[in-house]
């Protein structure tokens, strides 16, 4: 059961890497958010505490419902449906994703966790989600894809925290979720402004601030 869940998480990663339709990407990211949100319940199914249940509920609501809704709203405001030309092509992206998964498993085998972990795959999978989120941020051009990459990375970090059953106080967990929520919300607003200002959400056009083009200094 746990393994199936983790495999599903990794599969969502590959779909994100390989698909160009923004709406599909948002849906897949939402699915990943729900999978990650369910994780605490499944990993510790024999001893679900109120705290675990609340965190899972908050995670599922935010990552599975609220964030996708915000993104869909941003997507509706802009006139773009697909990522046309990412910095790194889709096929290469998938290959890099494979590399990231392999690297994460290597990393996971190197890190010795000082406490029992529900499944040997949890930590490598969490790492791979983090890496792939980072890769999405640097390799995609539309603002929405970049914000999605941030969300994916957050999912990975959430999974990492959940898999180690960290005793972060509940308030901190809520604060973290709230911050991520606010960040996503702000990014949604910025996406809207970018689309209005540039007639597009291609971040490649955000390139007027550079060091060497404005150089007109003569001494």
């Amino acid at each position: 059961m746990t393994d199936l869940l983790l495999v599903a998480v990794v599969l969502t990663n590959f779909v994100l890497l390989g698909s160009s339709r923004l709406a599909a990407c948002i849906r897949v990211a939402a699915a990943q958010g729900i999978l990650v949100g369910v994780m605490p319940l499944i990993l510790y199914h024999d001893a679900v505490s109120v705290r675990t249940a609340l965190i899972a509920a908050a995670g599922i609501t935010l990552k599975g419902i609220v964030f996708p809704w915000l993104f869909f709203r941003a997507l509706r405001d802009v006139d773009v449906t697909r990522e046309v030309e990412p910095f790194v092509g889709y096929t290469v992206s998938i290959l890099i994703g494979v590399g990231a998964v392999a690297g994460s498993f290597w990393l996971g085998s190197r890190l010795v966790v000082p406490r029992p972990v529900p499944s040997a795959f949890v930590i490598p999978v969490a790492f791979s989600v983090i890496f792939i989120g980072l890769f999405l941020i640097v390799s995609r051009k539309t603002a929405i894809s970049q914000a999605l990459g941030y969300l994916v990375m957050e999912n990975g970090i959430f999974a990492f925290g959940v898999s180690l059953a960290l005793e972060e106080p509940f308030l901190v967990e809520l604060g973290v979720l709230l911050d991520v929520f606010a960040a996503t919300f702000l990014m949604g607003i910025m996406v809207f402004h970018i689309s209005r200002e540039f007639d597009h959400i291609d971040v490649g056009r955000l390139a007027s601030l550079k060091d060497w083009t404005t150089r007109r200094y003569k001494s």
Binding site: D3, V7, G18, Y90, T91, V98, V101, A102, A120, P124
Partner: protein, 305 residues
Amino acid sequence: METVLIRGAALACALLFAPLLIGTINQTKAFFAGRRGPPLLQPYFDLWKLLRKGAVYSRTTTWVFRAGPIVGLAATIGAAALVPLGGLPAALAFEGDLLVAAGLLALARFFTVIAALDTGSAFEGMGASREVQFSALAEPALFLAFAALARATGALSLTEIYGRISVAAWMQSGPSFALVAAALGVVFLTENARIPVDDPNTHLELTMIHEVMVLDHGGPDFGFVQYGAALKMWVLGSLLVGILIPVRSGRWWLDGAAALEGMFWVAVGVGIVESVMARLRLLRVPQMLVGAGALCVLAIVLGMK
């Protein structure tokens, strides 16, 4: 005596029932399209018709063109002899036979391709180029799938590997098997030139991949090509069914029946896919194949507990 019979059973099934797969697919598609469709045995009638005809050869072709279909069919039959049908062992089994099976399929493809190039036609050259491009990506996926299976079961011969995929094995490394099955499904569709990679019914040479390569073959040669294609579908299909139907009771007739039923459902599945899906853009196909390879890598990684 009985062991010899059992050993021959898988190969006999392949040789006998392979064209039936095509018939089943066509029937399914006809059902979804609301047509009556050709009879189930139509592929056999076609083969019989083609074998009785004479052949016409272009003057620009050489012996390569004539050798293509024969070598192709022979290599595919060789591969069929190495692949078990679910719990039924293959006619031949030895350590590392999975490499030989993949190699024989590659040999068949190679001869189809050079026979197509030998005609000197632009269309056939284009089809050959596409075929090679896709199989260059499908073959790593196939090998990775074999590697994942070998890793999960700890055996190196196809018969042994498939003999060990039981319900108990599924309980233990189910995710790996599921991933490999998904990847093999993609390879199956690609190698057999089915939708969403290639449309076997298209009439536009520009969009064909497999069909365009064999346009110049006629008569018995084309019969060999058709029969070889059906057999290849059977071989790859039995690789898939062996994973998806993990019935390993130890009674050969039960295992065999389960596997045959599995083959039937695979054909129906292909028919459904062809009925509900459109072709992918050519640019997306490599992406899908790389994705299949990624699934296999994931399966291998999962196997390294």
